[in-house]
Subunit: 341 residues, 3 copies
């Protein structure tokens, strides 16, 4: 399906080696999963449990952990086929999304903006006053970069991404379509019976190697900075409230919601649709299970489940007890009858 | 409120018949609900339980299941007034959203793109290299169509929709404002203590007659295809993860979240804010109630409630038992006292 | 961090007075929180519990409720420092987001549209046929205003906001990046085994002084109007379904979801990720706690928690009882043993 057009020898060179069983001249036209691959595709075998799938696959070539007998395909044995396949996919991905460097004539780049070497700015994209875009970065069509905001080197802002003013983005950051970085946080105070806006004049600072999914919002701080640490990976439709300080190498899966002024430690994981209330701290290496919601601090390394989030063991016992409720109710009825109550 | 400007005779012709009580020459200027309609509006009466509302309505004309006595309005009796009113609304909707065919001078259409007959491309829209748009389709202003992506005939891509590269969209597909189709799925692997991206080079395939709400994300597959089956209807702010295979005539209501690699059978229904974890299968005709979350396969035709999702009957009994907890606790106290514990 | 560049005397004039301790000539270059402020920044002290933080702060100047001893910074004592600081932030915010009035040459304004005095329309923005924009309003780059829609005076539509046709927006309304107002509601009927669309031809009406966060969807009514009342404040990633009537001064925090045809009374509060099913009524001054989900009407002034939402006291007792479940189970075991069962 996805074009590769490399011979197995070229794949071997790309991976820096491997044991070949079959012909290195075989041309891998595309990449596909074992089940979907055809005779001109390269696929991969993660481990022994997939050996039979490999024998049934129509794939023309396979990355394997060790040569597999009974397989017709050309094989290239490498230490970690999944990791190696990832490297191959990277080639495909780069080729698919290749953008011709240059500022499109339909882009709107302010004359005070600074555009680095080899930058692509697509049609309809806006780069505002005193904004800057680092070398090799791609600003897709329809994306908006606000006043004084900076984008580092080798970043990708996908179509219709909105980066408001005074946002600092590191190097090698990818932001998928439609996400909004630096909207005002939700800050209102009561005044004479009405809701009065607390102006949000802070910033957003995003570290190197961060990836942000589609349609995600990361709000600017009230006065200081909302921070996303280096290497953190954020999914689609995620909300990060104002003043949050998210650590490094954190995982926020799709549809996670984090309220304002939350501190999240390094390597913490928020699974799908989990979240937490404002002004709490989630410790480093903590894991919130899918749909878990924390209402108070979560200790370093803790694994919490449920809403309200509880220690994983405690929540499991709770679920077991809930399963026993019908039996408990019936026992109680029996006992009351027996006691003549 | 919404303009119709058809006489009751013209409405009758549009509907292919009906029994008229009153004047066919009556001009229906607008459409409105029974409560909001004025003397120049057409409204409708779904069934007997609305007959009194009909008598109190100021509507000038009514679609009715059978002539109603005591109603001053002109009446047109048809077998299914709700269905018939839908047909009338279709006329209003088409008129309201009428777009002059043609490519706007402010649109950015690559010279290698293929644009069908009678296509509208609005200002600021981007149609990338080798993309194609089928006859009669409308690409609103600010929408983005990526490289090699195809849009069928009679589709509507609303403003600021993002369709990334290598996405195939069938005929008569509507995608509402700001939705993002084909962003990278959430795929990372651990490597030397960091999160390493698994490139996402697969596709998204969307069948005929699919409708997708506003600000919804459907992620591309890792290597094969994320599939949305024919006739499936998806609401606003929905997330469909990578590698999912959603069947035909499925309903995903607003704010539903489906993690990656989930298989959903035909005609299944996910009610508001329901969802499921990755790598499970939801059977055909299954129904997840509002906010239900499935952590394991849901059988064909099952109706599940709650988080974790349980069979509807089981969950109802659980809610009843929870309601009895105070009584159970008090019974236990009594028994312990009585037993001198 | 954020530029102010006012002397303390100028700040005092802006606030209409205050008791000065130190030099009115001190130049406040920026604003920051107590912890982040440097010697050229203005910060504020909310109340007595922050007096020690004030003593440790490096801030050059402070808004205080009353002069604090042991503080090196210049001080300006005002009755409500938080409110006063908000007024200062407003100056910074206006300056940061200053837009030069005028229609950018890259904007697409239809010749039938009406543009008021002092309006800004950014590059790539679209103003459609017969739409109108009131005096002093700002339409950022990439925003879309549909046919016949009206925007009042002093509004801000942030980048890539989508306002579909026939939407009426009052004065002083702010809509943050990427939000979609007036997409079709989720309306389908069963017909011959398929889902048939119920055309959505109604409107959206948004009152004065409403603020709407980023990536939020407010769907148009089927035939009448979806209404957002004056002064209501809505967060990011919120969904308001078709036909809803939201009252005045309501708070809908980020990631709230309200299904179709819901009536919400004045001053009601939906905390983070709370929501409700369709066709119910939430009374004035009611409060739904974070993640609460209402499946039936909520009375005026009620405070509800949980999913399903229950009266706050009832839900608290329920949580206490659930905490006692392990003890109850163990008591039951003891009793059964004792009774020889």
């Amino acid at each position: 399906m996805s074009q590769l057009d490399l011979t197995l020898d070229q794949v071997r060179a790309l991976l820096g080696g491997g044991t070949l069983v079959g012909s290195g001249a075989f041309l891998c036209r595309g990449v596909a999963s074992l089940g979907a691959a055809g005779p001109s595709d390269l696929s991969f075998v993660r481990g022994e449990r997939n050996f039979n799938d490999a024998r049934e696959s129509a794939a023309g070539a396979l990355l394997v952990p060790t040569p597999i007998d009974g397989v017709g395909a050309h094989q290239l044995a490498v230490p970690d086929p999944f990791l190696a396949f990832g490297a191959v996919l990277r080639v495909v991905a780069e080729r698919k999304r290749h953008q011709v460097p240059g500022v499109h004539s339909g882009a709107h780049v302010d004359e005070t903006a600074r555009i680095g070497e080899g930058v692509t700015v697509g049609p309809g994209a806006v780069v505002s006053e005193h904004a800057s875009v680092g070398d090799g970065s791609v600003i897709y069509g329809g994306a908006f970069l606000g006043s004084r905001s900076t984008v580092g080197a080798d970043c990708v802002l996908h179509p219709n991404v909105v980066v408001m003013e005074d946002v600092d983005i590191g190097d090698r950051v990818t932001i998928h379509g439609g996400s909004v970085i630096g909207a005002d946080g939700y800050g209102f105070m009561q005044h004479e019976g009405r809701h009065l806006k607390v102006p949000q004049v802070g910033r957003v600072v995003i570290g190197d190697d961060v990836e942000i999914g589609a349609l995600t919002t990361i709000d600017r701080a009230t006065i200081d900075a909302t921070v996303i640490g280096r290497g953190t990976k954020i999914g689609d439709l995620v909300h990060v409230g104002h003043n949050c300080r998210i650590g490094e190498d954190v995982l926020l899966l799709p549809t996670v919601a984090i309220s304002g002024s939350v501190v999240v430690g390094d390597r913490a994981v928020f699974a799908g649709r989990s979240g937490c209330v404002d002004n709490i701290e989630i410790g480093a290496d903590a894991v919130l299970a899918a749909t878990a919601v924390a209402y108070k601090d979560v200790p370093v390394g803790a694994r919490v489940w449920g809403n309200p989030a509880r220690d994983q063991g405690q929540e499991k016992r709770m679920q077991v007890l809930l399963g026993r409720l019908p039996g408990m109710a019936s026992d109680l009825r029996d006992i009351k009858k027996r006691l003549g109550a």
